[in-house]
Each structure stands twice: as structure tokens, then as C-alpha cells.
């Protein structure tokens, strides 16, 4: 078979990846710039990283975001795995189309829609039963879990679909209850997918600014909200420093996870 055209391939991939990576690279390079005027280089310096460490507003927002992301990822991984498994293994049931519809809607629906609808629901709920008393960590968490469980479910259902069904059937034939089969056969097999889904939920929650803005209350400013309120008016060097640390951390995790998975696949 003829291989793809070499020149075209190099051109398409080269330009494509340059487009994807040059902005990130420039962001990182300028985080080491000494000048507060971000667009002209005046020498290498770590001063913005120092400023970052002394920035209490950013740090407390980061701490809140980290806690919300941990709780979100854990809950979304649990309920999303559940939903994805139901999708892949339970066959068709009454309301299946509605189920698929509700589960995939958060993947595409604009975040402003999710944000306003959940906020209005919490307002009505407060009017009716007086709970939750005020918006804050809990309400943001609910919003983030609803968003993230959809992404988790997509990952899990495609993984479960690829599983060899005969393993589960063998366990059932040997007398295990369906629940036991799930926890001692299926779950260990899909564990890597659950871990990567957890990580995706974690980063989605850590990144969200729109839903959090609607659902936050007094004193619950998340990191993206704080960053957004600073940069909507222009460049802020401490945000470059923060972005560099963030991208390096995420990049390391993704690359390590990818290498591990790749080694495992290569061994097969």
C-alpha cells in the first residue's frame, strides 16, 4: 500500500503542532522575564515565582480549588464509572435514550447553561427547605460532579465495551453474584481507565471558571475565578508563573501515565 505523502504529512503535522504549542511555550518563557511589561524581554529572573508564593489571595484560592477538585474527582469517578458500566452492560432499558441524553449533554452544553440552571435550582431549594444555607464549596462540588461524571462515563463505557465478556460470564457461571463479579472481575480490569478518568475529572474541576462563578458564594473564590478576574483586563506576570507550574505538573503526569500504559501495551 502507498504510504501517505511525506511532504504534506510533515507540513500538516508541523504547522498543527506549532499552532498547539507555540502559545504555551511563549507563556512559559515570559514567566521568567524580569520586567513587569510582559511583552519585552529584560532578562532572566525568578521574581514572579517569588511573588506567587507571597500572593495570599491566589494561594487560598488554589487551596480551595484543590479540595474541590479532589472531592469532585472522587465522586465523579465513582458515579461516572457506575453510569458508564450501566451504559455498556445493562443493555437497553426503559428511558435508555433519556439516560444517554442526560449523560452526554454535559459534554457539549455550554457551561453558562449548566451554571445558571443549577444556581436557580439551589435558590429554589433554599426557598423551599432552607438548604443549602448558602452557596459555596458544596454547590460548586455538585456542579462539577455533574459536569465531570459525563466525561468519566464516556471513558469507562468504551473501556468496558472492549473487555472480554467471557471473563465476567465465567465468574457468573461459577456462582458469583453480579455485584461480586463487578468488584472482583470488572473493576480490577478497568482500574487504569478509572484512574485516568479520575485525573481528567480532577483537571476539569481545577480548570472550570464558569460553573464555579455561578455557584460560588461569599468567601469561596476558586483559583480559576481569581485568575480570570485578574487576566480579563490584561497580562499579569504572576499568572504566567502559575501557568508554567501548572502546565509542567499536568504535563509530567500525562507523560508518565502515557509511558506506563505504552510499556504495558508493548509488552503484550
Amino acid at each position: 500500500m502507498k504510504g501517505p505523502n511525506k511532504t504534506l504529512r510533515a507540513l500538516a503535522l508541523g504547522l498543527g503542532y506549532a499552532f498547539l504549542y507555540l502559545p504555551i511555550l511563549s507563556l512559559m518563557v515570559f514567566s521568567f522575564n524580569d520586567s513587569a511589561v510582559l511583552t519585552s524581554w529584560s532578562g532572566f529572573s525568578l521574581r514572579w515565582y517569588g511573588e506567587l508564593l507571597r500572593d495570599d489571595a491566589l494561594l487560598s484560592a488554589a487551596w480551595l480549588s484543590l479540595r474541590i477538585a479532589l472531592l469532585t474527582a472522587t465522586a465523579a469517578a465513582a458515579i461516572g464509572t457506575w453510569a458508564g458500566y450501566v451504559l455498556a452492560r445493562m443493555g437497553r432499558f426503559r428511558g435508555f435514550a433519556l439516560y444517554v441524553g442526560m449523560l452526554s449533554a454535559p459534554l457539549v452544553i455550554p457551561e453558562v447553561v449548566l451554571g445558571i440552571s443549577l444556581l436557580l435550582m439551589f435558590v429554589e431549594l433554599r426557598g423551599a427547605v432552607g438548604w443549602p444555607a448558602e452557596n459555596g464549596m458544596f454547590t460548586i462540588w455538585v456542579g462539577h460532579v455533574t459536569l465531570c461524571m459525563a466525561f468519566v462515563a464516556v471513558i469507562i463505557q468504551s473501556r468496558v465495551r472492549d473487555l472480554d465478556r467471557s471473563l465476567e460470564e465465567a465468574a457468573l457461571d461459577l456462582g458469583a453474584t453480579p455485584l461480586k463479579v463487578f468488584f472482583s472481575v470488572t473493576l480490577p480490569l478497568i482500574a487504569p481507565a478509572v484512574v485516568s478518568a479520575w485525573l481528567l475529572a480532577f483537571t476539569l474541576s481545577l480548570d472550570d471558571v464558569v460553573i464555579a462563578s455561578f455557584l460560588s458564594g461569599p468567601g469561596s473564590t476558586t483559583l480559576p475565578m481569581e485568575v480570570f478576574s485578574r487576566v480579563r483586563l490584561g497580562l499579569k506576570p504572576e499568572v504566567n508563573a502559575l501557568a508554567t507550574l501548572f502546565i509542567l505538573a499536568v504535563g509530567t503526569c500525562v507523560i508518565v501515565a502515557n509511558r506506563l500504559q505504552w510499556r504495558k501495551e508493548a509488552r503484550k
Binding site: M1, V113, F228
Partner: protein
Amino acid sequence: MKPPSLRRWVPSSRALAVAPPFLWLGLFLLLPFLLVLKISFAELQFGIPPYTPLAQFQEEAVQLSLHLRGYILLFTDSLYAATYLNSVKMAGVTTLWCILIGYPIAYYIARSSPAVRNLLLLGVILPFWTSLLLRVYAWVGILRNDGLLNKALMGLGLISSPLEIYRTDLAVYIGMIYAYLPFFILPLYANLVKMDLRLLEAAYDLGARPWQAFWRITVPLSAPGVVAGAMLVFIPCVGEYVIPEMLGGANTLMMGRVMWNEFFNNTDWPMASAVTCVMVLLLLVPLALFQYNQVRAQQPGGRR
């Protein structure tokens, strides 16, 4: 083994297994949206909550009051119509560019050798995992009048005065294409990599030229991937708020922004709800297309 009792146990356990995710979504996705619909028919009032109730029990009668102010304003004030049109246009153009840029990338990734493919794929996944907010912010430093792009172009002598890109629609296009490109590439790649390459070999054996084989076999077969990717770009772009707010000018009209302003700056919740409802209404066709794709993907498809 007790087959009869087991069989009785199965359906109820099935319902039990299906229920919890269903309940969560019903409570935190469907119900809230119905409330938005309800409040879009309410009237603004001072107090908590800042809108009138839909139904009231007064003098032994249930009084239902549907206020259409929001909707009437939407259809009479031409600014809203212009905003809707502009949002759809901007999302459409963004989607087209994502297809033009993303298709070759996804195609060449899928046709690479497995080791290279994994590396290239990693290159697309990495930005997908990195903060969208920060990646959009990166463009501010590039597109400003004193930004990197203008400096580079002036340094090369291509232009004599800086191009005004930052705070224009063009900047919003660049930002949206950049932010959503991975969302297009990944589903399309997943489709292309599963394609049976023997079909292409058969076409070549029958005398097809490479572009003929590409156009008549690869493109039609990859249509579901293109649709899935295009919807993943188009639908969120219509309601995008962060990117137009950061890169766009004051006159970059986008629905997400209008809704945000009605809600936070004017605290007009019924109006914001009406804007939201009409946005979802507009998105109903692409949403249905996306859902249809999703439901079809759920079907066993001849494997059983």
C-alpha cells in the same frame, strides 16, 4: 443454586443498578433546566428570589401568570437577534476551521506507525488536559499591539504598524479554534484509526488514484467522527463566555456574554433565563444530532 428466586431478584437489582446515576442526573441536570424554563416566564421583582412565582394560590384560585417580557424583548430588540446570529456564525466558522486544520492532523496521526502515533497523540492530549483558561490567556501576550506576533512581523519588516487583533472578533476566532481543536481531533482520530485499511488497498488494486481513494472511501467512512468532533466544537462555542470576554472587543456579541451580563450585571434573572432557553432551543438540532450519534454508538452494532 435457586434459579426461581434468583430470577426474581434480577430485575429489581437491575433497576437498583440503573437508578443512582439516573437520579443524580435527573436532580442536578434535568430539574434545574426545567426551572430555568419556568423562571424565564417570571417577572422581575425586588426581593429574594428576584422573580415572581409562576403559580399563586389566592382567593381560592390558583393564579397562573406567564410573563412573556423576556421573550418579547428577545424578538423585538434587534440587538438580541444580532447576538444570536453572530454567536451561531462565530461557532460555525470556528467549526469549519477546526475541520480544515484538524482533519489532516487526525488523518496523519492515524496513519503513522504505532510508536509514532502514540507520541503524536500525546501531543494532542496534552493541551486537552491543560487549563483552557491559561491556554487562552497565552494568546493575550501574542496578539496584543505590542505582542509577540506584531513584534515578529515588524521585525521581519512585513508590516510597519501593528495589526489590531487583540480585542477584535479575529482574536476570538483564533482563541476558539485553538481551544477547541483537540476536541475535534480526538474523536476523529478514534474513528480514522479503526478504519479497515484493506478497503484502500482494494481501491488501489482497482486503479483508484490516492486522492480518489481518499475522497471516496476515507472521507465517507470518517463522517461519524467528523460529525462527533464538529458537534463537540460547535455546541459549546455558541455559548462560549471566557474566550470572547478575554480576547474579544466590547462589541463582540456572543450569547454567553449577554446571558452572563443579564445575570450578574443587571441581576435580571428572568431575562437571563429567557436568553438561556432560546440558546438551548437554537442548539436543539445540533444537540439532537450529537445525541443520535451517541445513542447509535451505544448500540451493540452486530457484535452480538
